[in-house]
């Protein structure tokens, strides 16, 4: 065979090299073929591989590379054209695929890389979340501890229990070695160890409050770590060699009620703090964590609130106890006072009798002595004795009265009495004295003053007598005028301190006594009503005056819910004494207090109606005649009329009584009013008596309202009429009980 130029004959040394190339190619091919197999195997195993297409591509690339190298095996020796073609095809394909793969990888590798970064990112995130979870869990636990602690603390209102529980719970929750509470002393200058966890009875260690560390703790509302060497932290027996645990202190505000403003939480400027010191166990290498510190702060606040509640409770309990004590004391005092009054009253009652008896004896016997035969000297002596005894008797009475008035044990009587007659009687009593002194007395009673009133007649008379007596006493000449009328509400306002309450059942009687005597200096007027004070300026001071009279009058007047006062323009200008008292108005129910008992015993009753002029008004002829006959039988001079007009025409002041029939059509009530208008003088006008067959209250009320003086029921017997007339003339009022 001819050797062509295309193939170089091979050197024998090249045989070895060729052999090695042959073997390497073979192994390369194997490797190249096995890799895709491996890839396929693992891809099949993994379910989630997203880049299958790439793998296929890659596999193809590798297979083709392998094929190329394999086919290369045949090219070391002589090979045919087919082999060459196959080789070329293989190489071409390989080239294509590898380029395609390379291009593909350009896309894919960034993706793959980003996957990696995302994975890293997610891992970081997961770690972070884990951390946060841990934090939340710790917080939640802290919260739980706080709640539990708070619950324990707030479940009691006892200060000691609160504090003890706080320490115990804190100790437990935080696994503390020691926990202590320092409270400010009363002076506020020191902190005293009040409660500890481990030591049972803390003996009063004190620490001055102005330690810099303490100030630091007090000025912040956080838990502040402090040095274990600080005096407040030196609590436990010295552990010895090892490191004492970390200490933290927190302030506990001691709140008072006044700290809680309505809109703000207690201000930061509260002065009073207690100090809570917490120590971790020594040798534990534990440290205070954030959440633990927070726990401590929250607890401190809760304790503050709980303490303030406890304080409030204590306050109120104390106040209540104090009140109870005061009550007991007051009760005792009251009982003592009552006993004292009772003793005094008993004393007075006894003395009353004891004093008056000899007094009366003296007066009586002196009077008797006066009647006997005496020399002029003896008479003078006896008169003096009598005068002094009278004076003494009056004084005793006044003093006894006044002492009863003072302690309020005097009670006014309430009875219906004739008001007009009170004035008349006083006048009668004073007349002799006044006429001796040549003083003229003048009494004026207003027309609208009720004839009857409810009150204490005796005391009213006493008052009036006293006032009028004073007027007479202190006047040497001139006149005394007494006016009495019903006080109008307008006049009340002029009087200071007098605020009467008008009502339908009461009226205010106003009496004014004017005299033209010596008068009183206006400066002396306030003294008039004080006991035992006598005016010094009066030259004619009557030695018989004891100075008690006006004081007693004032007391009586005040008891009658009134006022008394004296006005005077000065010495020599006379003075006016005025008093107002409240009296009741008698009504129907009170009228029954004047029962009409027909006096059947004719002998005792004045049957002297001879010539008594009476008027009978009745429109029934028969009744008229009968009544007329009745009255004539009793001796009256009777005029009869049968109508209101006739009555008004005929009636005169000569008629003492008018008997009016009111159950007929004639308006007897109207007639009564007209008669009252005609004759205004209450004392002189005829008495009007209604005769009726009706036995009802309405009639009686009507009669009383129009001011009739009486009411009697028909039929009237002779005896009854006799009694009626005498009663009427005596009392001027008569309302038969129905």
């Amino acid at each position: 065979m001819e050797s062509c130029n295309c193939v170089e004959p091979q050197l024998p040394t090249d045989e070895l090299l060729m052999k090695y190339q042959y073997i390497s190619d073979f192994f390369i091919a194997i490797a190249y073929f096995s890799i895709p197999l491996l890839l396929i195997y693992f891809v099949k195993k993994s379910a989630v591989f997203p880049y299958r297409w790439v793998l296929v591509q890659f596999g193809a690339f590798i297979v083709l590379c392998g094929a190329t190298h394999l086919i290369n095996l045949w090219t070391f020796t002589m090979h045919s054209r087919t082999v060459a073609i196959v080789m070329t095809t293989a190489k071409i394909l390989t080239a294509v695929v590898s380029c395609a793969t390379a291009l593909m990888l350009v896309h894919i590798i960034p993706d793959l890389l980003s996957v990696k970064t995302r994975e890293l990112f997610l891992k970081n995130k997961a770690a972070e979340l884990d951390r946060e979870m841990g934090l939340i869990r710790t917080q939640e636990e802290t919260g739980r501890h706080v709640r539990m602690l708070t619950h324990e603390i707030r479940s009691t209102l006892d200060r000691h229990t609160i504090l003890k529980t706080t320490l115990v719970e804190l100790g437990r929750t935080l696994a503390l070695e020691e926990c202590a509470l320092w409270m400010p002393t009363r002076t506020g200058l020191e902190l005293q160890l009040s409660y500890t966890l481990r030591q049972q009875n803390p003996v009063g260690y004190t620490v001055p409050i102005h330690h810099p560390v303490i100030n630091q703790v007090f000025s912040s509302n956080c838990a502040v770590p402090i040095s274990p060497n600080c005096p407040v932290a030196k609590l436990r027996p010295h552990g010895g060699k090892f490191m004492p645990g970390e200490v933290v202190a927190v302030r506990v505000p001691l709140l008072h009620l006044s700290n809680f403003q309505i809109y703000d939480w207690p201000e930061v400027s509260t002065r009073n703090y207690a100090l809570m010191v917490l120590m971790l166990p020594s040798d534990s290498a534990r440290q205070w964590h954030e959440h633990e510190l927070e726990l401590v702060e929250v607890v401190a606040d809760q304790v503050a609130v709980a303490l303030s509640h406890a304080a409030i409770l204590e306050e109120s309990m104390r106040a209540r106890d104090m009140l109870m004590e005061q009550n007991v004391a007051l009760d005792l005092a009251r009982r003592e006072a009552e006993t004292a009054i009772r003793t005094r009253n008993d004393f007075l009652a006894v003395m009353n009798h004891e004093m008056r008896t000899p007094m009366h004896a003296t007066i009586a016997l002196s009077s008797l002595l006066q009647e006997t035969e005496l020399t002029a000297e003896q008479r003078l002596m006896v008169e003096t004795i009598l005068k002094s005894s009278n004076l003494l008797a009056t004084l005793i009475n006044d003093v006894l009265d006044l002492s009863r008035l003072e302690d309020g044990s005097l009670q006014l009587e309430e009875a219906t009495f004739n008001l007009h007659s009170v004035f008349r009687e006083v006048l009668n009593l004073i007349k002799p004295v006044a006429s001796v002194k040549k003083l003229s007395l003048n009494l004026q009673i207003a027309a609208d003053l009720p004839a009857y009133a409810i009150g204490d007649e005796k005391r009213l008379m006493q008052t009036l007598l006293n006032v009028v007596g004073n007027a007479v006493k202190f006047s040497k000449e001139g006149s005394i005028s007494i006016t009495a009328f019903v006080a109008k509400p307008e006049s009340y306002s002029r009087i200071p301190d007098f605020h009467p309450v008008p009502s339908d059942s009461h009226f205010y009687l106003r009496v004014q006594v004017k005299d033209s005597g010596a008068g009183i200096n206006p400066q002396d007027i306030p003294k008039l009503f004080t006991k035992f004070a006598q005016s010094q300026t009066l030259a004619t001071r009557n030695p018989a005056g004891s100075g008690l009279g006006l004081a007693i009058c004032k007391r009586f007047v005040n008891l009658m819910e009134g006022e008394i006062w004296i006005e005077s323009e000065g010495a020599g200008k006379g003075c006016t004494a005025t008093f107002m008292v409240k009296l009741g108005i008698p009504d129907q129910s009170n009228e029954s207090k004047l029962p009409f008992a027909p006096k059947n015993t004719g002998s005792h009753v004045s049957t002297n109606f001879a010539g008594l002029k009476v008027l009978v008004m009745d429109d029934n002829g028969i009744s008229r005649s009968v009544t007329k006959g009745l009255l004539m039988h009793l001796g009256c001079a009777v005029t009869t009329v049968s109508s209101s007009e006739e009555c008004l025409r005929v009636v005169s002041l000569e008629h003492k009584v008018i008997f009016m029939d009111v159950c007929t059509g004639l308006d007897g009530y109207e007639l009564a009013v007209r008669i009252h208008e005609k004759f205004t003088n209450r004392l002189d006008r005829p008495l009007i008596v209604a005769l009726t067959g009706n036995t009802n209250k309405v009639t009686k009320e009507k009669c009383m309202r129009v001011g009739m003086n009486g009411l009697i029921l028909k039929p009237v017997s002779v005896e009854k009429m006799r009694g009626v007339l005498s009663e009427l003339l005596e009392r001027r009022v008569l309302f038969e009980t129905l």
Binding site: G621, S623, V626, T627, H633, G665, K714
Partner: protein
């Protein structure tokens, strides 16, 4: 003596009338009013009463016969009659008048008419019963005796 007999008769008759209710205590009172100054007081009053009563009864009758009946008018008359009868002590008449008044107020015509008849009846009874009484009194007085007074 006749006077004593008459007096006794008078008392008996009066007692009967009182018991029957024709007269009541007021009549006794009326008798007490008779004295020397008015010797015929009782007779005078009773005569006046009879006249008045007859008038009133007539008025009542006429008032009830009117159409329409004015009950107030009737009531007024009855009221008068009641008053007078009470004054003289005519007990039964007074009671009937009271009933009559109620009927007038209730405006019951039937009842009123019946009452009126009753009144007339009572009145005539009273009058006829009083006649012998007055006769006896006159006889006693004429004989110079004194009228016995019941109490």
């Amino acid at each position: 003596m006749d006077v004593i007999q008459w007096q006794k008769q008078l008392l008996d008759h009066q007692a009967v009338m009182l018991r029957e209710g024709f007269l009541d205590d007021q009549f006794i009172q009326l008798q007490k009013l008779q004295d020397d100054s008015s010797p015929d007081f009782v007779i005078e009053v009773m005569t006046m009463f009879f006249e008045d009563s007859e008038n009133l009864l007539n008025n009542m009758k006429r008032a009830l016969e009117q159409e329409p009946v004015d009950f107030r008018q009737v009531d007024a008359h009855v009221h008068q009659f009641k008053g007078s009868s009470a004054s003289v002590g005519a007990g039964r008449i007074k009671n009937v008048c009271a009933t009559f008044r109620d009927l007038c107020e209730a405006q019951k015509l039937e009842g009123c008419v019946t009452c009126l008849q009753q009144l007339q009846h009572e009145y005539s009874l009273l009058k006829s019963n009083l006649q012998p009484l007055f006769r006896l009194r006159q006889q006693i007085q004429a004989a110079g005796g004194s009228i016995p007074i019941m109490d």
